[in-house]
């Protein structure tokens, strides 16, 4: 909780920028905006999983009083996509619909009731086609799903090998083989997607959107609408959660813009919760086969994997996801050799994409259970096995990524201590268990999504005569607190309390470019840019103060709204006067900061830039579970999460990311399933927050966040990411705890009562068969 004495400093607790307005109901999220004469838009969506669109008749809809315009695919014919090499979707279907929920037409009317009625009056003639819901079958089929695909239903294939894995596995003391299935899950941010567009009489287009990537949206709007980027302004209002679910352009943004251009009136579209499930871009279901070899001392000799990713109808970030399914597994443990072969398939489902821990949560699940199985066979403690394999600071991974700092061993120590692992493991009552897992994650990617050598992040900071700072930040605060992070850094460098700092962010007209809130990049990248600008301003101010006091500049300290002489603290001046002196000397006090990623830290092979990051966070989890052997119900009682974030710039925010990530992982472990039903023509199994079960306050385990700090040279004050890493190992820690509790392995997610009970019953049958054989009876 806020320590008032440390509140303005790096490493303290801070009230979040803008939080009180949100708590008073004053903050305007996108759907809270209303413009005079605003129209409401609705999208007509396909009831078929795969169908040619033969005709669309909008005449009855247009005849309805209050309906102003209808658009279809041909009004927005240019394809888009977040990855420039895989632009394979249109705002509205051109010739065929690819999944139940695919957008077919969009209309604008004077109010929502009229728009809904008009949607009911739309007539579309479909010709249903064979649909594929199983990625393996889709890959083998001649019925091609995505019309832009050049390789049939193969969306992406990656095969990379480092060293001779087969030879290493052959020579291993123990080889663990396993097949795992990670179920699809979705983000389920509480705010549905929403966009509002207005067009000025001179053609200037403004789009407000609940997006986490205003810059990419800006670029793709310009491309698809065929108007220059300078004629488009994108504003991201306060955002109601995202988790990767708002990190690329969506149909609604193009539709409201086009409808505003056609009607000349402001147009807003708010997704229903059902539509949020169709827009999806959630975690890819992955079926993964792993072989992992170990030497007698427990070191990992080789890892070989084969993975099929179920991509859904569009690419989204899928090219990157397919790489990430292998590239991000190579820490926190050193591998002797490594091979991964991943294939992403198109299927007739809502498109999968990046969910918190993009692409690497699924293989982490497999890897950490493999380690648990190996520990048992090798007869070592699972934490000890992880210690033996921990990669060291400054080392390179098997796939040539440069690990900077790593506090992984401290993370293991912390969860071991806090959970009282040594005292309690193996001594808990029947049905109770403890499990451990570890993981790593990137702090942004060294190479941007579209190739360019400009800075990934930039910031502008100005100081004014009243003693305040204004920050213009391109970063998207999606609730994680990036506005607060930049304010804390400026406050630290200039001796200002938080309340004297204004942050304006994520407005493409007013703020410099930042690439967006994804891949856990903002603290490191925008933080570094902010530090650069703030330090330049500090030099300007301290120089002017030093001149007037006739002392060397390094004697002047800015703190607590004062400039103070370090060697003669009696000599001081209030910060507003110091700013006035500096403005007299330098003119307007303004500085920019930039962050360019390192270009010398990646693998020297095709794909070797994907997964390369300036710095890597480290995490360890211990989970404690209680399994009801009669019902199969798993209760996660408590999870300890130790996370090495390099340096916690704001402790409450870092803990919040650790707790929220750990919660989200636990939810995927025991509850969440995002899928369609092949037996019912591919309709979604339950596109609502009742059917798609996310945990309530009563379902969520107790979570203890243990911050570990191994500062990295490349982070601001040493900081690395905290927003995504602490999700990964939450899930396999629970799987391993279930094994400890009841002795069954659950290699498929989620751990529903049915699945757990089936595993327990299968084990009972096996035990009974064993008991039937005299002399071979062995208790677990």
């Amino acid at each position: 909780m806020t320590d008032e004495t440390k509140k303005d400093h790096v490493g303290g607790w801070h009230r979040k920028v803008g939080a009180m307005d949100r708590m008073r109901g004053l903050a305007k999220y996108t759907d809270d905006l209303e413009l005079p004469g605003m129209l409401h838009a609705k999208i007509l969506r396909s009831p078929h999983a795969h169908a040619n669109i033969l005709s669309i008749d909008a005449s009855e809809a247009l005849a309805l009083d209050g309906v102003e315009a209808v658009i279809t695919g041909s009004d927005l014919p240019l394809p888009y996509g977040i990855i420039p090499w895989t632009r394979d979707e249109n705002a509205l279907c051109l010739d065929k619909a690819l999944f139940v929920g695919d957008g077919v037409a969009c209309l604008a009317a004077i109010d929502e009731d009229t728009a809904n009625e008009a949607i009911r009056r739309m007539k579309v003639e479909y010709e249903p086609l064979e649909a594929h819901f199983d990625p393996a079958k889709s890959l083998a089929s001649d019925v091609h799903i995505n019309p832009y695909s050049k390789k049939g239903n193969l969306s992406k294939k990656v095969l990379l090998e480092f060293g001779d894995v087969d030879e290493a596995l052959d020579a291993s003391e123990v080889v663990v083989e396993g097949e795992y299935f990670f179920e699809g899950t979705t983000h389920a941010a509480i705010e549905p997607h929403c966009a509002l567009a207005k067009i000025d009489p001179d053609g200037m287009l403004t789009v407000w959107s609940a997006t986490q990537v205003p810059h990419y949206l800006h670029r793709e709007l310009a491309r698809v609408l065929e108007i220059p980027a300078r004629r488009i302004r994108v504003i991201q209002p306060p955002l109601g959660g995202a988790f990767g679910g708002k990190s690329e352009p969506f149909d609604l943004e193009f539709c409201v813009a086009k409808l505003a251009m056609i009607t000349g009136k402001p147009v807003k579209l708010l997704y229903t919760r059902e539509e949020v499930f169709y827009s999806h871009r959630g975690r890819h279901p992955m079926r993964m086969k792993y072989r992992t070899g170990f030497a007698k001392d427990g070191t990992i000799t080789g890892v070989a994997s084969e993975t099929i990713l179920d991509g859904g109808a569009y690419s989204s970030f899928g090219l990157v996801t397919t790489y990430y399914s292998g590239q991000l597994l190579t820490a926190p443990y050193a591998f002797g050799t490594y091979r991964f072969h991943s294939r992403r398939a198109y299927t007739n489902k809502p498109a999968c994409g990046p969910k918190r821990g993009h692409g690497s949560v699924q293989p982490r699940f497999a890897m950490e259970i493999q380690l648990d199985k190996a520990a048992e066979r090798l007869g070592v403690d699972p934490i000890e096995l992880r210690r033996v394999n921990a990669i060291k600071p400054g080392e390179k991974t098997i796939n040539e990524m440069s690990i900077g700092s790593t506090g992984f061993l401290t993370c293991l120590d912390e969860v071991e201590r806090a959970s009282r692992w040594k005292e309690r493991r193996g001594k808990l009552p029947k049905g109770h268990g403890l499990g451990v897992a570890g993981s790593t994650y990137i702090s942004g990617t060294n190479y941007p999504i579209y190739p360019n050598e400009m800075p990934q992040s930039a910031i502008q900071v100005t100081l004014d005569r009243s003693g305040r700072a204004r920050i213009f930040s391109g970063a998207s605060d999606i609730g994680q607190g990036s506005d607060t992070m930049v304010a804390v850094i400026v406050g630290e460098e200039l001796g200002l309390p938080q309340e004297d700092i204004r942050v304006l962010s994520a407005d493409t007209d007013l703020c410099p470019v930042d690439l967006g809130a994804y891949s856990s990049r903002i603290t490191l990248m925008v933080g570094n840019a902010t530090l650069q600008a703030a330090q330049e301003l500090r030099r300007m101010v301290t120089k002017s103060v030093a001149k007037r006091w006739d002392v060397p500049r390094n004697r002047v300290v800015l703190a607590d709204r004062m400039a103070i002489d370090r060697e003669d603290p009696e000599q001081s001046v209030d910060i507003a006067t110091a700013f006035e002196w500096a403005e007299t000397d330098h003119g307007l006090l303004a500085a920019v900061g930039n962050y360019k990623t390192p270009t010398d830290r990646h693998g020297d092979y095709r794909g070797g830039t994907i997964g390369a990051s300036p710095a890597y966070s480290m995490t360890a989890h211990v989970a404690e579970v209680k399994v009801d052997e009669e019902t199969g119900e798993v209760r996660v009682l408590k999870i300890w999460c130790a996370h090495d974030c390099g340096k916690a710039i704001s402790r409450g925010l870092v803990e919040g990311q650790m707790e929220g990530s750990t919660y989200m992982g636990a939810a995927e472990a025991v509850l969440e399933v995002h899928d369609v039903d092949p037996a019912h023509q591919g309709v979604h199994i339950g596109p609502s927050l009742l059917d798609y079960r996310i945990p309530t306050s009563l379902d969520t385990p107790e979570i203890e966040a243990l911050i570990v700090e191994a500062p990295d040279d490349r982070g601001p004050y040493g900081a690395k990411e905290a927003g995504e890493g602490p999700l990964h190992s939450s899930i396999p820690a629970i799987a391993n705890a279930i094994y400890d509790a009841v002795g069954v392995r659950l290699d498929e997610l989620p751990f529903t009562p049915e699945r757990v009970l089936a595993a327990i019953e299968a084990q009972r049958r096996r035990n009974a068969e064993e008991l039937d054989k005299p002399q071979l009876a062995v208790g677990k």
């Binding site: 509480i190 927050l689 979570i703």
Partner: protein, 165 residues
């Protein structure tokens, strides 16, 4: 539905103010609050009573305003998140702010209206379990509830003069 439904005149008392507003009879209290009275603090997260972001109080009790017709609130006392703070923040808002308990803040108005009901009549500081029960109908996707529950308990302790430190 071929003819637009005629609006009716509703008399509502919201946050202590009498309001006259015209709206179709099938419109929910949430729609009328957000789109007619411009009280956008109550949020729409799911449209069907699953998420709790629209929670307001009617006659002091938390209700889901997306499942309540506006006409049902006539003659009753409606309180929204905008009516929670006085000249200073409500102790719950202050505690949530100190604990960084609002990340995206979208569920927060609903959480506050549920938690306020719990604290209002409590004759002692509430426990974590009681707080968890009180907000069980409010889905939060950011926090894992940890800091929200800490803040509710802290606010309650301060209201009863038991705050540590």
């Amino acid at each position: 539905m071929n003819e637009p439904t005629p609006s009716i005149l509703l008399s509502l008392r919201v946050n202590g103010r009498d309001e006259q507003v015209a709206a179709p009879p099938h419109h929910t209290l949430l729609e009328v609050l957000r789109y007619r009275l411009r009280l956008t603090g109550s949020k729409q997260g799911c449209d069907k009573g699953d998420c709790g972001a629209c929670t307001v109080q009617i006659d002091g009790e938390p209700v889901l305003s997306c499942l309540t017709l506006a006409i049902q609130a006539q003659g009753r006392d409606v309180r929204t998140v905008e009516g929670l703070a006085g000249r200073t923040a409500h102790p719950l808002q202050d505690a949530m702010d100190r604990y960084d308990a609002a990340q995206c803040g979208f569920c927060t108005p609903g959480v506050l209206m549920s938690a306020e009901r719990l604290l209002r009549d409590a004759d002692r500081a509430v426990t974590h379990a009681e707080a968890a029960h009180a907000i069980a109908g409010n889905l939060c996707r950011c926090t894992g509830y940890t800091k929200i529950l800490d803040a509710i308990v802290d606010a309650s302790e301060r209201m009863h003069g038991e705050a540590a430190e």
